[in-house]
């Protein structure tokens, strides 16, 4: 299945990536060859086969809703942000 330039642009938009014209052309060819390769999976009869989500069989792991030990303070975590902080909050660009 050949991916068109429009499809590549739509995927890039969904993934929040800006691609150059050169990248669009390259990814169109490379993604097409990867998707052609994985077509092999359609040979397999998987009717009635469950999808794997957890290979060792664990389900619904829960813990009591209690605060445990703190590994990092809120300010240490805020310090990781490249954006300016105001009153312990990260300032972001406008949304609308």
């Amino acid at each position: 299945m050949k991916l068109s330039k429009e499809q590549i642009e739509k995927l890039a938009q969904l993934a929040r990536l800006t691609l150059t014209e050169e990248e669009k052309a390259r990814y169109s060819t490379q993604l097409t060859s990867i998707l052609d390769y994985v077509e092999i999976l359609k040979e397999l009869d998987t009717k009635g086969v469950a999808e794997t989500s957890q290979v060792t069989g664990l389900v619904n792991v829960t813990r009591p809703d209690e605060i445990g030990k703190t590994l990092a303070t809120p300010d240490e975590l805020l310090d990781c942000s490249p954006l300016p902080k105001t009153e312990h909050q990260i300032r972001v660009k406008r949304i609308l």
Binding site: L11, A12, L17, L35, L41, T52, R63, A72, P82, V92
Partner: protein, 487 residues
């Protein structure tokens, strides 16, 4: 005596006997790093002052006659994807070039608790995506046996540094071969554990239903010693179950007499080079001599492994990397941006390298509306069949032995422009990962150009002790692990 070529076990004995100090071990590694790393490009960060301080602390304990643990005072290098509190952790990505984590990963915390000496952080493919470390923003780590060749990836800096005597051991991550492939390419031992055996807390996630953590060492015994320290349930990683951790060293001398070793024909099929097949067959002959029974068998679903991986992994990767939006951490773009969406795009387009963007695009495609059933879900159903096929095999045999990779290490640049060719390097490592099996890469010789050859031992879930036992039997009967590259 060349201290930097000792095994962990030998270094520990020497420390106890006061033949040398931890500071001397540490200085031997630092000297080897200074002498060889310009060529090999393994270290992203060298933590020399910290290492010497940690070493002196251990030396003080020894002088005062206090007991020390087996990893205590033995220098190690960590793949630069493990969060190390206060020490830069880059994932070899421009996205995290300035990131200093405020907390420690569980695996490295456990090593810290054991009194390890941290030499520094080593190179990888960006976000652990690749088979050669050529996707690192810092450039490729090279093969210590011949720097014209790659060290393998994604844990290439880990494997190369251990093979080159720069560190006694390293931790790597293995999602679809990222510990075993570089270990095999670099001639060292690499252990991929059962999914969930080692906590992944504080390690940047790649593909969450596949990711594992394990040791890279120069001997099988050392792999057992490191695994012993890091294995077990962790409340911070809900994929680690309450399965008891056995002794990984107690059976290392037990041998393989009476064990059944399955040899799947598909791992010796077309595309696997004659030199790889010959080397693994020679290792199988050795096992026969040691009293194991070799059982030829067939695993017909092997050929679907790469396709299953290159659908599910990019899907999970694209989801995991969605958190890199430049708000809480990440690359800071320059220039003016209109709105938040514009900011996201700039952060991600500048911060991620080409292979990451490619995988995010594939992942976005396979998970997008209208495609997820035909791609992602079909691959996860195919994976269920692969898991069942392995489970059937382990009813007949104790372990499986096969090549790690179809070829020895390839030349730098050889596959760099062809993503699919690079993906196929992991064709024999991926199926075991799909089923979450433990698998140990063991060196088994050199080809005519002096490049390392290796095989892998796969076992059922939670059978690390058995897999290590089988690996140790071969190592004790051969000398490959005693050979070191010369510089």
């Amino acid at each position: 005596m060349d201290l930097h070529w000792l095994s962990i076990a030998e270094a520990h004995k020497g420390l106890l006997k006061k033949d040398f100090s931890s500071e001397e071990l540490t200085r031997a590694c630092l000297k080897q790093i200074a002498a060889t790393d310009e060529k090999l490009n393994n270290f992203v960060t060298v933590t020399e002052d910290l290492a010497l301080e940690q070493a002196r602390t251990v030396d003080k304990k020894i002088v005062q006659g206090e007991g020390v643990g087996v990893l205590e005072g033995v220098p190690a290098a960590m793949k630069d994807i493990f969060n190390t509190k206060g020490i830069p952790t880059t994932c070899a990505s421009k996205m995290l070039e300035d990131f200093v984590p405020p907390y420690e990963s569980t695996a490295t915390q456990k090593l810290k608790d054991e009194g390890y000496v941290l030499l520094g952080k080593v190179n990888l493919d960006e976000f652990a995506c690749g088979a050669s470390t050529e996707n690192s923003v810092y450039g490729a780590s090279l093969n210590p046996w011949d720097p014209a060749y790659v060290a393998g990836g994604s844990s290439g800096g880990s494997a190369s540094s251990v093979a080159a005597g720069q560190a006694f051991y390293s931790l790597g991550t293995d999602t679809g071969g990222s510990i075993r492939l570089p270990s095999s390419f670099s001639g060292v031992v690499g252990m991929k554990v059962t999914y969930g055996r080692v906590s992944r807390f504080g390690v940047t996630a790649m593909a969450s239903s596949w990711d594992t953590i394990g040791p890279i060492t120069r001997t099988v015994e050392d792999a057992a010693l490191v695994l012993q320290a890091i294995a077990g349930q962790d409340p911070y990683d809900s994929t680690t179950p309450d399965v008891p951790v056995p002794s990984y060293t107690e059976n290392l001398s037990k041998g393989v007499k009476g064990l059944k070793i399955g040899v799947p024909a598909e791992y010796f099929a077309e595309g696997v080079t004659a030199e790889v097949k010959d080397a693994v067959n020679a290792a199988l002959k050795e096992y026969e001599k040691l009293g194991a029974e070799i059982v030829p068998m067939s695993l017909p679903l092997t050929k679907y492994g790469v396709a299953i991986y290159y659908v599910t992994m990019p899907g999970e990767l694209s989801t995991n990397l969605a958190r890199f939006d430049g708000l809480r951490f990440g690359h800071k773009p320059e220039g003016t941006m209109e709105d938040l969406n514009d900011y996201y795009k700039k952060v991600r387009s500048e911060g991620f390298g080409p292979e990451i963007k490619r995988r995010i695009m594939v992942g976005t495609f396979v998970l997008s509306a209208g495609n997820s059933d035909a791609y992602y879900k079909q691959a996860q159903r195919a994976r269920t069949l692969v898991i069942a096929e392995f489970a059937e095999a382990f009813k007949k045999v104790d372990v499986l032995i096969a090549p790690v990779s179809p070829t020895v290490a390839f030349k730098v640049g050889e596959k760099a422009s062809d993503p699919l060719a690079m993906y196929l390097a992991d064709a024999l490592a991926i199926p075991g990962s799909a089923a979450g099996l433990p698998a140990l890469a063991v060196p088994c010789g050199f080809n005519k150009d002096g490049l390392p050859l290796g095989f892998q031992i796969m076992g059922p879930h939670w059978s690390e002790a058995l897999v290590l036992q089988v690996g140790a039997a071969y190592e004790q009967a051969t000398d490959w692990h005693k050979k070191h590259p010369s510089f």
